[in-house]
């Protein structure tokens, strides 16, 4: 991306890139993420992008495939499609394969999605974006409309990319879809090929720990593979977070410190500031609402939304006779891609667009077809009232792009807890990372011909974490996926949304917090878990494990209470009087250390940590318990939250806590 590496401190003097020998995208020396393979299960790959080249100045800068990696490159299809050649893979893009049996194979895709490539080639652009975000080369020059942003780099710029296409695009590129059976096939192949990290920027279950992809990720994690998955884009509603498996890292989306500010000034002098990428001012020009600009006879049931023909059964919504030369006020919403609204304006001869949210939602920097400013829903009534007056005009100002803005905030769209699965005993999302207005490489066909574009979503935050996992694995080859997840969680910081970190609403947005990679490289302590722990967890949270297996685990000393899974967060769905949870930490520092516990929040709940100090030798583990007790002052049946921190003077190892309480005998 163009700036989130700096925002995350990767390029600072003591950052992860420096610790790993630098990004060194154009040199032969080792660097950030060297030889770690990131498997990207997505909509495919655009292999010609410089982010995936294994050369610099025509010289090889990646030598061979990483040891133990077995992935191959799909062959060219012989029938009806010449989009691919096995030689398009290289020592950077080490694998590209595709999965479409659920569509009926190539024949089915050709019939249902005739624009799609019958190959790993990305039509949509999403897969190229996530892959280049996670592990694209360092210092790639941006071209096209996004050129003012300069260069982009992946989070782990020396990692290798293994692309598994299992999502297939709609024609306008606004989304890509797939089927679980193809996704599991892709995961299975990635595991067999020997990837180190999987990025999964794809929707998923919010209710089922053993939905097939979640189960596949369990075994991927057991095989030493770190999995990052999107939390979902169903925010700001509560209870919407997806990907419940505690063996994977579920990533919410936040803003970052690059601002793209724009404004519109109305003829009455009122100025409204929002987000824009307009590279030139336009106006003053007459302003008209999308509703007033409607082509007569068109009925699409959405007041001031601006539909292009492609989104309206072949009929444009706007009348060129009414729109030509004007700035159009369009409401965001429906199933229209944001950029399609400005395309509708451009196709009708409009010169600019004021784009206003229909409800509280993110403001996005998009490359629009006409100069555009994107405003919050709260501005709608005043602007639309003015636009309805005779002689109304507006001027859209040139946008200002700058770094150093206040961030991070939670992106409005980011899904949040509480997690439906697990009855409150599992906290998700796990972490939050940059996911709004992320610039990365794309595939031109689904992205209006662009090679680079901005995208927003938890799809964009997950590959940030996948890239960080690659860096941490490079730095600490002996760390398990759960150690990496723990390090990212326990060293997080708080988003700036304004709530305290003991407010459950904040924890349901950020999980353990915003990733801080430099701190994650040296977390002090980590929380580990493995297959038997996860199976015990499933014994206590599902009916999917055989009783005999659960009995064996319990006889072996494992708790089947889901709250006891050794995660870096604590969730208790219903605290019935008192409950004690146990955790075990491992010292991953090279020195012995003595840690002391502090607990904040959880007003009215008695909390006892036993022991309250832990002395742990390097490589050794220590266990502690936390007892929660409902008191007379405890607020019952509402979510309560807090933070448990272990500190040794150098490290702070922080775990969020969320619980609901009841008095013994009370009904929920």
């Amino acid at each position: 991306t163009s700036s989130t590496e700096g925002f995350l401190g990767l390029d600072s003097e003591d950052g992860l890139w420096a610790q790993l020998g630098g990004p060194t995208g154009g040199k032969k020396t080792p660097g950030a993420g060297e030889d770690i393979v990131i498997g990207v299960i997505d909509s495919g790959i655009w292999p010609e992008v410089a982010s995936f080249s294994d050369r610099s100045d025509k010289k090889l800068v990646y030598q061979g495939k990483p040891k133990g990696f077995r992935g191959t490159c799909a062959s060219a299809e012989k029938v009806g499609d010449d989009s691919w050649d096995a030689n398009l893979c290289n020592n950077k893009l080490v694998t590209a394969q595709y999965f479409n049996a659920a569509w009926g194979g190539n024949e089915g895709v050709a019939q249902q999605l005739p624009w799609e490539f019958l190959s790993p080639r990305d039509y949509n652009g999403h897969g190229t974006h996530t892959a280049s975000t996670a592990g694209g080369n360092y210092g790639v020059d941006v071209t096209g409309p996004a050129a003012p942003f300069g260069e982009i780099s992946g989070i782990a710029p020396r990692a290798r990319i293994a692309a598994y296409k299992a999502l297939w695009s709609v024609e306008d590129g606004s989304t890509a879809t797939g089927y679980t059976s193809d996704m599991v096939a892709a995961i299975d192949k990635a595991v067999a090929d020997g990837v180190d990290v999987i990025n999964y920027s794809v929707s998923g279950s919010s209710t089922d720990f053993l939905e097939p992809t979640e189960a596949a990720f369990l075994n991927a994690a057991a095989a030493g593979i770190f999995v990052a998955a999107s939390a979902g884009n169903s925010g700001p509603d509560a209870g919407t977070v997806a990907h419940p498996g505690p063996w994977l890292t579920t990533v919410a989306a936040g803003t970052h410190d690059r601002t793209t500010t724009g404004a519109v000034v109305l003829g009455n002098g009122a100025r409204y500031e929002g987000v824009s990428l307009s590279n030139a001012a336009v106006g003053p020009a007459p302003v008209i609402t999308g509703a007033a600009a409607r082509l007569s006879g068109v009925s699409i049931g959405a007041g001031a939304r601006c539909y292009p023909a492609s989104d309206n059964n072949g009929k444009p919504a706007l009348d060129p006779a009414k729109v030509t030369g004007k700035i159009v006020l369009c409401e965001r919403g429906g199933d229209i891609a944001r950029v399609n609204s400005s395309r509708a304006v451009a196709e009708a001869g409009g010169v600019g667009m004021i784009f206003v949210n229909a409800f509280g939602n993110s403001l996005n920097a998009d490359f629009h077809s006409v100069p555009t400013v994107h405003l919050q829903d709260t501005e709608w009534s005043a602007i639309s009232a003015y636009a309805a007056t005779a002689g109304a005009t507006a001027t859209i100002e040139k946008a200002v792009i700058a770094n150093g803005g206040t961030a991070p905030f939670t992106a409005e769209f980011s899904s949040r807890g509480p997690l439906v699965a697990g009855n409150g005993d599992v906290l998700k999302p796990d972490v939050i990372a940059p996911g709004q207005d992320i610039l990365a490489a794309v595939a031109p066909p689904g992205q209006g011909g662009m090679d680079f574009n901005l995208m927003s979503g938890t799809s964009m935050s997950a590959p940030h974490v996948a890239g960080l996992a690659a860096l941490l694995q490079g730095l600490h080859p002996d760390w398990s996926p759960m150690a990496i997840k723990s390090a990212l969680m326990t060293t997080g910081s708080d988003v700036l949304d304004g709530e305290a970190n003991t407010d459950p609403n904040l924890i349901f947005k950020q999980g353990a917090g915003h990733v801080q990679p430099t701190s994650a490289a040296d977390p002090g302590l980590v929380y580990e878990s493995g297959v038997d722990d996860w199976t015990a967890f499933l014994c206590g949270s599902t009916r999917s494990v055989a009783d005999a297996a659960c009995d064996d685990l319990e006889a072996g000393g494992r708790s089947l209470d889901p709250s006891d899974l050794n995660t870096p967060s604590i969730g208790i769905g219903l605290l019935d009087g008192t409950q004690t949870v146990t955790r075990t930490v491992k010292n991953v520092d090279d020195k012995a250390a003595t840690y002391s516990a502090t607990v904040s929040g959880l007003a009215g709940v008695g909390v006892t940590v036993e022991p309250s100090t832990l002395t742990v030798a390097p490589g050794e583990t220590a266990s502690y318990s936390v007892t929660f007790a409902v008191g007379e002052e405890t607020q019952l049946f509402d979510y309560l939250a807090g933070q448990l921190s272990w500190t040794d003077g150098t490290h702070t190892v922080r775990s969020p806590i969320v619980l609901r309480a009841k008095q013994p005998g009370d009904e929920d």
Binding site: I187, D188, G204, L210, A222
Partner: protein, 108 residues
């Protein structure tokens, strides 16, 4: 409702089998932070062949089921085109943990 559609059939973990050189299974039998699976490892190859055999045997019990994928490295199961009746019949078999209808997913 009786039209065939794709289902994902999850089989119970197969017992670890003793092979020359010691006991070895796939990922689900490995310890925490376990090593990666190597499909070329003779023991892994033998175990995956064993799993595929179990999958074929399960599917063979419902006549006409059409397989599309066999999963062995991260998921013990298979995808197949089945009628709802065939799916229910499979789900009732011992050794079958669950039968999920194939579901659409999308980019986030």
């Amino acid at each position: 409702a009786a039209q065939p559609q794709t289902y994902i059939v999850q089989m119970a973990p197969a017992p670890v089998v003793a092979y020359e050189g010691g006991e070895k299974g796939l990922a689900s039998t490995k310890p925490r932070g376990g090593a990666k699976v190597d499909p070329a490892d003779p023991a892994v190859e033998a175990y995956s062949t064993h799993l595929k055999g179990q999958q074929r045997a399960a599917l063979a019990k419902v006549k006409g089921g059409k397989p599309s994928y066999s999963y062995v490295y991260s998921f013990n199961g298979f995808a197949a085109e089945l009628t709802p009746a065939q799916a229910a019949e499979l789900e009732a078999q011992p050794g079958v943990v669950s039968v999920h209808p194939d579901e659409a997913v999308e980019t986030d």
